[in-house]
Symmetry: C2
């Protein structure tokens, strides 16, 4: 009697099509499986296909597969047990601050709910970081911030170059807080800025950029003055403004899902 208790789920469909002869690379396999899990292909607590199946599905050796699974396990997505299999852990166990996870999440498309969560956590952490930065920033750090404000003011910014400077300043401030946890939120800031590019709108509204520049300058000057409350307020202002503009862009799209 050969009863095979098939409790497992169906194959993971790789998003990346694999042309014959081309190797996928471990990174891409991790991404494919990570995205699959994030997308909800496997309910919480479900078993992934057995190692043998995954090996043949991706055309990789067991060594590579196991390193992939270890990577996912380290990020809290799955947990493996001898004789049982590899289970998908509950979402609350996933490390949402992991930059890979955030990247995969963006790959799935940007929904309003997720975007909103990004802004909420930024609004909680970044003003606090600014306040601490006002109290603790070194002179070197302040110099770098001011250099970035100068960068902001350079003419001829594209949305891409502008966002680059934007990100750099926010990271600098987070680091100047002296709190390693606040700096670790950098991955989220980056994700939020990345999200500004999923739509192809070529809006480079110079007036808005100039406005944003001065808002950012206000943060830096408050930090320079050691005014924690003002720094927090200015940071809040910047993030709220970003959220508002983002909302406008989204309203133009027909659905809540872009990209």
């Amino acid at each position: 009697m050969m009863i095979v208790a098939q409790n497992r789920y169906r194959p993971i469909r790789a998003t990346v099509t694999r042309t014959a002869g081309t190797r996928m690379g471990q990174e891409q396999i991790v991404r494919a499986m990570g995205v699959s899990i994030l997308r909800g292909d496997y309910p919480e607590g479900a078993l992934l296909p057995a190692e043998g199946d995954l090996m043949s599905q991706f055309g990789i050796s067991r060594t590579v597969l196991r390193e992939v699974l270890k990577t996912l396990a380290a990020k809290g997505l799955v947990v493996s047990k001898t004789r049982v299999g590899t289970k998908v852990r509950a979402q609350v166990d996933w490390n949402m601050f992991d930059s890979d996870l955030l990247g995969w999440r963006l790959d799935l498309g940007m929904d309003l709910r997720f975007l909103n969560s990004l802004y909420e956590i930024r609004l909680a952490v970044e003003p606090a970081a600014s306040a601490l930065a006002a109290l603790r920033r070194s002179n070197e750090s302040l110099t770098r911030m001011r250099a970035l404000i100068d960068e902001f003011r350079q003419p001829g910014h594209t949305r891409s170059t502008f966002a680059e400077v934007d990100l750099a300043l926010h990271l600098e401030i987070a680091a100047a807080s002296g709190n390693p946890f606040m700096r670790s939120v950098g991955a989220i800031i980056e994700a939020a800025l990345m999200a500004s590019f999923v739509d192809s709108s070529p809006v480079t509204d110079q007036g808005r950029l100039a406005h944003s520049t001065e808002d950012h300058a206000a943060i830096v000057e408050a930090i320079a003055a050691g005014d924690a409350a003002a720094a927090a307020k200015a940071m809040t202002q910047v993030i709220e403004e970003g959220r508002k503009n983002r909302a406008l862009l989204l309203a133009r799209g027909s659905e809540g899902k872009i990209g």
Copy 2:
């Protein structure tokens, strides 16, 4: 001419002594190497010993070693490149919200600076989470919160059982915020509560526990009432109180380092 460019650092000393015959287990190896890196045994950008050396130092096969390194890489601690070696990444790249990292950090002993960082990030995130919970909590979630408050009020709590309920309530609130990032801060809350146990002080000051209980009840009632501002304020109060008590305990110790 046999010149060996020894750019690498010395062996990782495992904190866990390895009695003959006993296997360390992959988990412990990950911990040993992780702690070693967190302790600063390797400067930012330094190369770990080569695979062969690590294998013999820990007495493990290459298979296991590589899975260990993959785990550390997934948490942002290291990065490996062919022909180059495995480099320790900059601290800003480490995922500080990872529960393993937090645990290893506690293993190193609790210094004031780190403890302070924990409270700072909690003060930034948890009040915001409470405010959102006041707006979004489901009835089921509220029921669980109230059950936890009842738990608080049970007599005969040890510091351990009290902390357990404490943690559960904070996690419930974080989850009720509906924001997955705020829930991911749970690892930090847990670490902060863990830190309450590194000193062996048997202080079970019943008055203080009762006080803390009512402070927590205030959060829940604000959430129940849908009063976001009050919920945030009550949460702030709870965390500040915890910080104050913690500071008192620390002041009793001669040094800033415990455990």
